[in-house]
């Protein structure tokens, strides 16, 4: 026991003396965190929906680079050979190495978590489950790291091997790129890598239903981890002179490979590969809707006045200080406004029914497209007319029917919407011709929409939401259809709901993006859509964005169509 503790303590101490190792273990996961933070800055809740991915990246890096690199370098220089002169068992050396690595992984994970919390992420929903899931994922990847350490004969080889596993897993394994945005074949491939199971298991503990809800992922990680550890232990070699290729235990390499294949096959056999709208992703997001502390006041897919910095885009956070005049009030209908590539809707003080007395740091930029950031401050806003309410506590309209024009003028601006040419809520110019294939799809949608169940529900707000999903879902999935669907959707909305009502309804949806039902997403295949998983929260945000874009057109604030 003393030997185990000594050995673990020394491994840790040496790790903390090695600057490169520190860089890999701590800086690298933080860089990923920062990248994700920037990449997903327009999401309602900071990073919470990507914690699984982030933690997985950290564990993968530590277990598949850090661990085997340390092991191979110690073995190749003959450090282990010296250990072997002492009565040290293979199990003793391996368990202490693994224990030290696990400690490093946990500390790096805590660092990521702390950084995320500092950036505004809410606390994970199931902290105890998260510890269990983290341990299980570490086990799975450490097993992999052990196998890699036995295979590679030198440090460059282990690094190359690491890249061969790390990069594919990151890109098509469901870690850095969301599974839902991967093509079908990649989703099938990802089922054979441990990455996606790791992400799902961890994610379930952050904003999902906990580890109990991801039994298959737990099983997959256990199988993969056990196979790796057993093979790593059998193929273990003490000495640089025992080359991998010359050893008799190579056949054990098949064990981890068989485990990966088995997990993939199980996943295929139980139909877990394709992420359809009805599967766990949606379930997770549904859960997320209620589990994460939603900002009081309705989040709206809106942006803040220019020149400010921030990251989220809730109404609450985008609020301007009370003593500040509305930055860009909507001009009255009919007022010609210079076409702006990035109209934005920003809620005005009081929109949430609360006094805006917090020094909000609203965000400046939603899509990151260059068109969104004005080079100069925006043209001075029209003088606040009588429609501009005093920035004091003001009740929000109680129902969509009570929405007045002044509500719209007060709560929405259209200057900083994501560009129609961007990747978030794009709209193709009227003159642009879709490809024949997309055209065919559009015709099918236009024809199908009036008969589509969700487009015929009696409540106009829900009906409008449902119809807007037809534009929002292709946008989330970034299919070719995304730029052309909005036109068909806008036509259908204008056909289905009288203009005056439609304006109120769209305003209502913009201010209440997380309300209402989203089951329409599951009925999209009736309009010829492929059955694919969609992040509901994201789809809701896009619905609201398209609502504002159409609203702006209807009230003349945005020129177009």
């Amino acid at each position: 026991m003393d030997a185990f503790l000594q050995q673990t303590a020394i491994s840790l101490r040496l790790h903390y003396r090695n600057r490169m190792a520190l860089l890999y273990s701590y800086l690298f996961p933080l860089i990923f965190l920062l990248a994700f933070y920037v990449l997903y800055r327009h999401e309602r809740v900071v990073l919470a929906r990507h914690m699984g991915e982030l933690l997985t990246v950290g564990i993968l890096g530590g277990a598949c680079f850090g661990l085997p690199t340390t092991m191979v370098s110690e073995r190749e220089r003959g450090v282990w050979r010296r250990y072997r002169l002492a009565p040290v068992s293979t199990a003793g050396l391996v368990t202490s190495t693994v224990a030290a690595r696990y400690t490093i992984l946990v500390s790096a994970g805590l660092l990521q978590l702390a950084a995320s919390l500092a950036l505004g992420m809410p606390l994970p929903r199931h902290p105890v489950d998260l510890v269990a899931a983290f341990t299980l994922v570490s086990f799975a990847f450490i097993g992999l790291g052990l196998v890699m350490a036995t295979m590679a004969d030198n440090v460059p080889a282990v690094q190359a091997l690491g890249q061969c596993i790390f990069l594919p897993m990151l890109i098509i394994g469901g870690i850095a790129v969301p599974l839902a945005s991967l093509p079908d074949w990649a989703q099938h491939v990802s089922a054979f890598f441990p990455g996606r199971y790791a992400v799902q298991a961890l994610q379930a503990c952050v904003n999902g239903a906990g580890i109990g809800a991801v039994g298959f992922d737990v099983l997959a990680l256990t199988i993969i981890g056990a196979a790796g550890c057993v093979a790593g232990a059998v193929m273990f070699r003490w000495d640089a002179q025992q080359r991998f290729a010359a050893r008799g235990h190579k056949g054990w390499l098949l064990v981890p490979l068989a485990a990966w294949a088995m997990v993939g096959a199980l996943s295929e056999a139980t139909n877990r590969v394709a992420t359809t709208p009805s599967d766990q992703t949606v379930a997770r997001a549904r859960h997320a809707d209620t589990s994460l502390p939603a900002p009081s006041g309705s989040p709206a897919p809106v942006v803040a006045p220019p020149g400010t910095a921030g990251h989220t885009k809730t109404v609450e956070q985008a609020r301007t200080p009370p003593d500040r005049p509305p930055s860009a009030a909507t001009p009255p209908p009919g007022t010609a406004k210079p076409p702006s590539p990035a109209a934005a809707a920003a809620p005005q003080p009081g929109a949430t029914g609360r006094t805006g007395n917090s020094p909000a740091a609203p965000q400046a930029d939603v899509t990151g497209g260059p068109g969104n950031r004005p080079a100069a401050p925006p043209a001075p806003a029209p003088a606040p007319g009588p429609a501009t309410p005093p920035p004091v506590k003001q009740p929000i309209a109680a129902s969509w029917r009570e929405v007045t024009r002044s509500d719209i003028d007060r709560d929405l601006t259209f200057d900083h919407l994501p560009s129609d040419e961007g990747i978030v809520a794009p709209i193709a110019p009227a003159a642009e011709e879709p490809s024949p294939e997309v055209n065919q799809q559009l015709e099918a949608i236009a024809e199908g929409l009036p008969k589509w169940g969700p487009a015929r529900v009696p409540d106009p707000v829900q009906r409008a939401r449902n119809i807007l999903y037809v534009a929002a879902v292709p946008d989330v999935l970034q299919t070719e259809l995304e730029r052309f669907a909005p036109a068909v959707v806008f036509d259908e909305l204008e056909r289905s709901i009288p203009k005056d009502d439609l304006i109120k309804v769209l305003y209502w949806i913009a201010l209440h993006p997380m309300d209402g039902d989203h089951s329409a997403i599951e009925q999209l295949p009736a309009l010829g859509f492929e059955s694919r998983a969609v992040d509901v929260e994201e789809a809701r945000e896009r619905v609201a964005l398209y609502a504002v874009k159409l609203l702006g057109r209807l009230v003349g604030a945005i020129r177009g169509r």
Binding site: D2, Q6, E74, G78, V79, P87, V88, D239
Partner: protein, 308 residues
């Protein structure tokens, strides 16, 4: 343990790497308190033999008993009781001697305190310096300290002075002699004849994976039939035809004014040479007579000189 029983018994040890027979039936014994040297050129099988005994390698055949324990069946029991320093000892770059000694001490049932070992091996000033800042001599002393951390009955040193500077080499020799005084049993391998001659009570000469002679250095030289070597320099030099008159001179080699030769009857040859020198009226500047050495024995036994 009764002193009558040998500390190490190796019987017919065999080890093959692919086509290469590294050990082809090595057998020897080491008595308690003895310093035993395995002397042989590189590739003779001495390191393989040592590594099989200390449990770094699994022999193909043969019996090894260390301190009365079957080393092939209970290698970890053997490791508890022996200490070993390999040709080179690598540790992690940033580990300090104190940490290394504490860590390795934790592997054993019996151990000496790190501070004691640091003191004994003169590592005090470097106790907390990272391994990568230690000199070659300091690393070798740390290797020895690690070998002694479990108070071993038996110490194995594989080529302990290879690559050391003369000063470190002298220090190491002193350390080995101290081990002998302390009553340790030591097995060392070396390809330096002087080292074997100077340090070892008994030597096993090994070549091509076999022990070809065993005995004390004196016994080995005594057993030799080697001739004595004479080297003579005069001013001016003698002429070869003069030397031909002297009896008993074999294989003369001329090098300017100097001539070297061997002889089986050194007194008679040298006396005749003196007479000749006086007759020719030349002055002797150097006269050297060398007895047969372990090196001569070695060449006699193996048919080749030791390669450094």
């Amino acid at each position: 343990m009764p002193t009558a029983e040998p500390k190490v018994v190796v019987r017919d040890l065999r080890k093959q790497y692919g086509e290469v027979q590294a050990a082809q039936g090595v057998s020897f014994e080491i008595q308690d308190g003895e310093i035993f040297g395995l002397l042989g050129p590189n590739g003779s099988g001495k390191t393989t033999t040592l590594e099989c005994i200390i449990g770094l390698r699994e022999p193909d055949a043969g019996a090894i008993s260390v301190c009365g324990i079957d080393a092939r069946r209970h290698p970890r029991d053997v490791k508890q009781r022996i200490g070993a320093a390999l040709q080179t000892t690598s540790l992690q770059d940033k580990i300090t001697p104190r940490e290394a000694l504490t860590l390795f001490g934790s592997f054993y049932r019996q151990k000496s305190a790190a501070a004691e070992m640091l003191e004994r091996f003169a590592l005090g000033p470097k106790a907390d310096a990272p391994f990568d800042t230690l000199s070659g001599g300091q690393r070798q002393r740390l290797a020895l300290a690690l070998a002694f951390v479990n108070r071993p009955e038996l110490v194995f040193l594989d080529e302990p002075t290879t690559g050391l500077d003369p000063q470190s080499r002298r220090e190491l020799h002193a350390e080995v002699l101290r081990m002998k005084q302390d009553g340790h049993t030591v097995l060392l391998t070396t390809h330096y004849i002087e080292e074997a001659e100077q340090l070892c009570d008994r030597i096993g000469v090994i070549d091509h994976g076999r022990i070809i002679a065993t005995g004390t250095p004196r016994e080995l030289v005594g057993r030799s039939t080697a001739r004595q070597a004479v080297s003579l320099t005069t001013t001016p030099g003698l002429r070869p035809e003069d030397l031909a008159l002297v009896t008993g001179i074999e294989d003369p080699v001329w090098d300017g004014d100097r001539v070297r030769f061997t002889t089986a009857a050194v007194s008679r040859s040298v006396a005749a040479l003196m007479t000749l020198v006086e007759a020719r009226g030349v002055a002797i500047t150097e006269l050297q007579v060398r007895k047969g050495t372990l090196e001569d024995v070695f060449i006699e036994l193996t048919g080749s000189a030791l390669r450094d």
